[in-house]
């Protein structure tokens, strides 16, 4: 849990894994914190404009990730140029590609090695939900093994699709971190088709029968402060 000193700054960060629940930075009803000082705002501004990605390029999405860093969809213009390949220096883990059970331990180790605060983008359907592979060797979505903030569907998603979803994440990072539920996994923050009717596929992925009380997975009005 985050702890605070008297000026209200977060001194020990919890990586945003749990909403801060004590002190003046407590989560209010909308689930997001507020800034007690301008220094905190400055820190978050710095974080959101220099999200250094840790590219975990596992398969085909890795090639689109490379194209994203390449000349046409230049990720460097968002400050994400320093795609360091060591997790110790990064704050944004982009899991691009199929995660297999053999690789799962390594991927979780990489996530654990990243210092707080950290965010995770699941790029592509393989990392979001196992994709087209319902086989014995594929992890059915990296949210089985690590909390995810943004899911980017596509096989592979176009680089501009990933950038389009990284921008709201960056904005939320600037606002203090995206909303996460009790399990640490992000709520869907970018739902493009607000007007579609709810169906069987709109149930909460972790709680299809509503027994765990995890809330509405599809907030109709996404507030990006």
């Amino acid at each position: 849990m985050g702890s605070l000193d008297q000026s209200g700054l977060r001194t020990k960060s919890d990586g945003g894994l749990r909403p801060v629940s004590d002190g003046p930075m407590a989560a209010d009803a909308s689930g997001s914190g507020f800034f007690a000082t301008r220094a905190d705002w400055l820190v978050n501004w710095g974080r959101k404009n220099s999200l250094w990605p840790m590219p975990l390029g596992l398969s085909c999405c890795g090639i689109e990730l490379m194209a994203m860093i390449g000349p046409k969809f230049d990720l460097a213009r968002f400050g994400a140029e320093a795609a360091r390949f060591t997790p110790r220096q990064c704050d944004l883990l982009i899991v691009a590609g199929t995660l297999t059970w053999k690789m799962a331990t390594a991927a979780r180790t990489i996530y654990d090695q990243m210092p707080d605060p950290k965010w995770v983008i699941a790029m592509g359907v393989c990392s979001s939900s196992g994709g087209m592979y319902d086989s014995y060797a594929v992890v059915q979505g990296i949210d089985s093994i690590m909390p995810v903030d943004v899911y980017v569907p596509g096989c592979p998603p176009r680089p501009d699709a990933v950038i389009e979803r990284e921008a709201p994440l960056a904005k939320l990072v600037g606002a203090g971190g995206p909303e996460r539920d009790e399990r640490g996994t992000g709520k869907l923050i970018f739902q493009p088709n607000h007007g579609i009717a709810r169906g069987v596929l709109d149930k909460h992925p972790h709680d299809p029968k509503g027994k765990l009380g995890l809330g509405d997975p599809l907030p109709r009005k996404t507030e990006i402060k």
């Binding site: 894994l17 059970w101 053999k102 799962a104 331990t105 979780r108 319902d134 086989s135 014995y136 060797a137 089985s144 093994i145 909390p147 009790e182 399990r183 640490g184 992925p205 972790h206 709680d207 299809p208 027994k211 765990l212």
Partner: protein, 187 residues
Amino acid sequence: MTSNETRETSAPADSAPAAPRWAAALSGLEYKQLVGADGMATLEVAREQLHALLAALKRAGFAQCTLVSAVDHYPKAPRFALTHQLLSLEHNERIRVRCWLREGDEHAPSCADLWPGANWSERECFDMFGIRFDAHPDLRRLLLPQGYDHHPLRKEFPHAGIEPDRLYRQWDKQRRAGWNAEEGATR
């Protein structure tokens, strides 16, 4: 015995317009010669003669082993059709060698001494089907974790895997104990 390959025609060497170039090298070995659906010469041989046949084919000019694989004909018996496919670069020819293995008795001589390139193909065969290769220099799993219990390409293994599986459940439990406080979570 080869009831599965009804599209393969039996082509005895003497009735063909010209006996294949490699037929002379295989004298003294017992094999059945067929022609596959793609026109490739297919030799069926018993396990005891397999290594001798492959060595003879190598001497006849088949310098490269393209693939070593198996086909699982469950529930028919014999179950596994171990298939080697060879390529001769100087004569521009391919040939397929098939050896039937029965369930419970899945082992065959290794040809890694003839073609070092077949080493990993045989490891993969072992990994996927459980066919052991005698005298293989380093027979261990190739694609799946070393502690994995099953051989996935066998027909009775389900496509989605066997859940809960011992290794995965252990690992999964450890992970969940860390970051999930709820005991009865569905995932």
